[in-house]
Symmetry: C3
Subunit: 264 residues, 3 copies
């Protein structure tokens, strides 16, 4: 497969269709997520009020849910928005930030997984592991947390949607296929919201193709490629953060040669 060409096609489709990406996300990363969405050529809209989230999801092309600074009101908003998104049939991406750190986060993420037709679940090994462990009333270790692939597979089996466990290598487990993505930079761990931006990227790419696992792999690889380019010269985190947006916006010009996706 020529994944670079496929990534390029998705980018071009996003630039042409300018999808509206409704994001109910945490207060830490809101600005970065909105700027990232614009840099990809898509349109961000952040809307949280129960009075409008269903309507907003209804005019959007994807819904991104992120529990990073969750409140009870926000869960309600996510359930309303998610129901509207499900009815319309647009992709829903969930980022269970901090699942496993507190019972509130773990249980809220599980509730969203139960009640909404989530298309893609993305988290790190610990977060996804916590969700699988909790689902099976076992600790995280019991699911084999040492191996991201096992965690992703267990979550896919438990919840039934595409699961992306991101890390040095990203593992994406879909219904028919597993992908490994080897793009990215250690500098991403030095800025806040790099995982949340990966999740937003998945939401954007999900509007550009029908296969959630493939689109997730393409999105993560493209985002990781931009990060690699932004990391050239090993800048500090403040400079890297600005350059990351620059490089995402430059993908159309610089192209996608360098995406490293393998079937796992």
């Amino acid at each position: 497969m020529d994944y670079a060409a496929l990534a390029r096609e998705s980018l071009d489709r996003v630039a042409a269709s300018k999808p509206l990406i409704h994001q109910i996300t945490n207060v830490v990363v809101t600005n970065d997520s909105a700027n990232l969405t614009l840099a990809f050529g898509a349109l961000p809209v952040m809307a949280y009020a129960p009075q409008e989230v269903a309507e907003m999801a209804g005019i959007s092309q994807a819904l991104v849910l992120n529990i990073g600074t969750l409140s009870e009101e926000e869960i309600d908003a996510m359930l309303l928005a998610g129901a509207a998104a499900g009815e319309k049939g647009i992709p829903i991406v969930l980022d269970p930030v901090g699942a496993g750190a507190t019972a509130f986060r773990t249980e809220s993420a599980l509730r969203l997984l139960r009640e909404l037709p989530i298309t893609v679940l993305r988290g790190n090994r610990g977060e996804i592991g916590a969700l699988v462990g909790a689902g099976e009333v076992r600790g995280v270790e019991a699911t084999g947390a040492e191996d991201p692939r096992q965690v992703a597979t267990a979550a896919h089996d438990a919840f039934g949607m595409t699961v992306a466990v991101t890390g040095a290598t990203d593992v994406i487990v879909g219904r028919d296929q597993t992908y490994l993505v080897r793009n990215g930079s250690p500098l991403l761990a030095g800025i806040t919201g790099s995982g949340c931006m990966a999740t937003a990227t998945i939401g954007i790419f999900a509007t550009a193709g029908d296969d959630p696992a493939l689109q997730t792999a393409l999105g993560l690889a493209t985002y990781g490629l931009a990060a690699e380019r932004a990391a050239v010269g090993d800048p500090g985190p403040g400079t890297f953060r600005s350059r990351l947006l620059d490089e995402v916006a430059a993908l159309g010009v610089k192209g996608t040669d360098g995406v490293r996706i393998e079937v796992g």
Copy 2:
């Protein structure tokens, strides 16, 4: 008229008086708005709690309201702050972000317009058009949305305050005068909150002169001029965003030659 000289005088007045700009704004742009306010030499204060917004507005020199991530509680806070601002006689600027996208936004913006003595209303053509359309129980198209000038005039007639419809050319319709502002950069559309920052700029400039339409034109032209300077070399959005703050802060040194304002 020597608008560059007038813009410079307003800048100098702001730097000398360091006005406190109370902003009840959206979570996406809060940080950028605060930094922009500081770059202009003014002092930002973000305060949202019903327990304090009236008191805060009462010690401020302008109030900026922005419905970008509105909640019911925030509307209440805006009404309290706006009433205090009206009593004190300080300018109030309203940014109806996303009006027309959901009924909640449109109706909330109309409620604020009805219940508060708003001084300047700023939005893009779609947002202001939606407010006029709704006010007349017609669709947006019916107000002649193709022409920003018609939209601004209709809104001025309907609501009675200075209206700024921003875009490639900004149109400002005041009681006695219409201004066209031709500053700005296409790069502004590539970063989130560029419109919200334009609104904050209007609030800042409104403290430096008595004619709301003129001050709005001066503010938008000056902000647009800083954006033109930041756009030199066509940087990516991350770099542009940093440079925009740099260039606003540098206006005192580099001056305001280059503002392009015409009487319309």
Copy 3:
């Protein structure tokens, strides 16, 4: 005392232990605070929901409270988190942003001081002065607000914890010792959240040593040193803000020679 060596030791301890810093802070500075925390090698977690704050504080190594965009719900969350932090015995740092500007802020800060075992209180002269004035039912002037040292001493006497009054020279008054810190840059006043980031720094350094006053002095000096380095060449505020993060992250490589701490 070789304060540069002590600062370096604290930095190394933070890098080695990667303390989790639970921050309940304002919406303006959330992203900057999280990025600063990462740049110091610590781990930020922002969590606000009453359902989880006690649990989150319980797995953290320090708790940072900041009332910059306070709400009633947030006070409740702070009280819950603070009680859990107190029980666990981890340091709690309070930033009474805007105390004195509104009664709500002053009274909320005083309530937190009364009900929680705060370890370090940091603010500017006006804010800390307002708290002392209110505590003694006198105006700010009455406490001798002209002299930051008097303000810090009065607050230390009134509330009993380490107090840092930051400004051109930072004054830190502890039980046994007073420190003066002469690091920093005027450019810090040109970006929003520079005080809030100083407070976050205190929280981080408080995890690396047992003497709160000394750790506060080391933290403020180190942060100020990074700001001095970021200010070289007098960049605009947008560039300075990025470089500040770069320079904090570079402290491990560039070292801490240049911290200026004196016993007062």
